[in-house]
């Protein structure tokens, strides 16, 4: 039983990693790796254009991050480090999604919040994947 769960969890981690890779790939395709192109991508969008991007991401990222982080809670007592990791991961995900609504021609500096929160989300996701991967699971 224990082994089968580990198999399923590892496949999930691989697919989560693929989600991150394709997500970053899409972000890079939509911009030409310059700060200006990143800013223009969001500034040129209407509010409904932004909603079209943010709405499915809020649902998908919220669900995927919940599933990923809940694997940390399956075993024994959680450390405060894991609690902080989970909270920061969720916060960076929300900040990364919601900051795009505040990027305008007058406030282009907000693109830094978007980029830093996205980068933080990626790093913390990889860290969580690493932590879940090396966990052992006790199934009742």
């Amino acid at each position: 039983m224990k082994d089968i769960y580990a198999v399923v969890i590892r496949y999930f981690l691989l697919m989560f990693l693929m989600l991150l890779i394709t997500g970053v790939w899409l972000l890079l395709l939509h911009s030409s790796l310059t700060l200006e192109s990143f800013t223009n991508y969001y500034v040129q969008k209407t509010i409904f254009g932004l909603l079209e991007v943010v709405t499915p991401h809020l649902f998908a990222m919220g669900t995927a991050v919940f599933i990923l982080t809940h694997f940390l809670s399956l075993n024994k007592k959680n450390s405060s480090y894991e609690n902080k990791l989970t909270l920061t991961l969720f916060s960076s995900m929300l900040l990364s999604n919601l900051s795009v609504f505040f990027i305008s021609e007058q406030s282009t500096w907000i693109i830094w919040i978007k980029l830093i929160s996205t980068l933080l989300f990626l790093i913390l996701s990889l860290l969580t994947i690493y932590k879940v991967f090396f966990r052992t699971y006790s199934v009742k």
Partner: protein, 154 residues
């Protein structure tokens, strides 16, 4: 997903049994419609898939844009991940002597089908393989679903 942990106590909880049954039926419905949608959007025959992915000069068809294909794959990874995670978790809980082979087959074909679909833009020969692998992951997920339904209706 705590309710999945209680799957062993299904005989004592008929409502939970019905809930899981409807969840699995919904997932099977999704899988069936996903095949129809892919047949419509990309094509599940070599000619139609090749026309969509690579375009066709004789029929004045443009190839699909790479970022559109990548977006498609990005969304498909999420849906296949959640579908298989739910199906396999219920399957393991219901069948104590679960066969790992079916779980490996469903996950590995689902992952491969996404990777192969991206590679078809540069390696057209892979289109046939993508169709087979795509149908295989759906078939294995269907088998998982039907085994669960069989177990629940026993």
């Amino acid at each position: 997903m705590q309710f999945l942990d209680k799957a062993k106590e299904l005989d004592k909880n008929p409502l939970l049994k019905k809930l899981i049954l409807f969840l699995v039926i919904t997932l099977l419905l999704y899988l069936g419609l996903d095949i129809v949608l892919h047949h419509q959007q990309i094509g599940l025959t070599f000619t139609s898939a090749s026309n969509t992915i690579l375009g066709n000069e004789e029929e004045f068809l443009d190839p699909i844009l790479f970022d559109v294909l990548l977006e498609h794959v990005h969304a498909n990874i999420l849906s296949s991940m959640i579908t298989l995670l739910l199906l396999t978790t219920i399957y393991i809980r219901l069948k104590a002597e679960s066969k790992q082979r079916l779980i490996h087959l469903s996950f590995s074909t689902a992952i491969l089908s996404q990777v192969i679909l991206l590679l078809t833009t540069t390696l057209p020969l892979l289109i046939n393989i993508w169709i087979v692998v795509f149908l295989l992951w759906h078939l294995s997920a269907f088998i998982l679903g039907f085994i669960i339904i069989g177990k629940l209706l026993k």
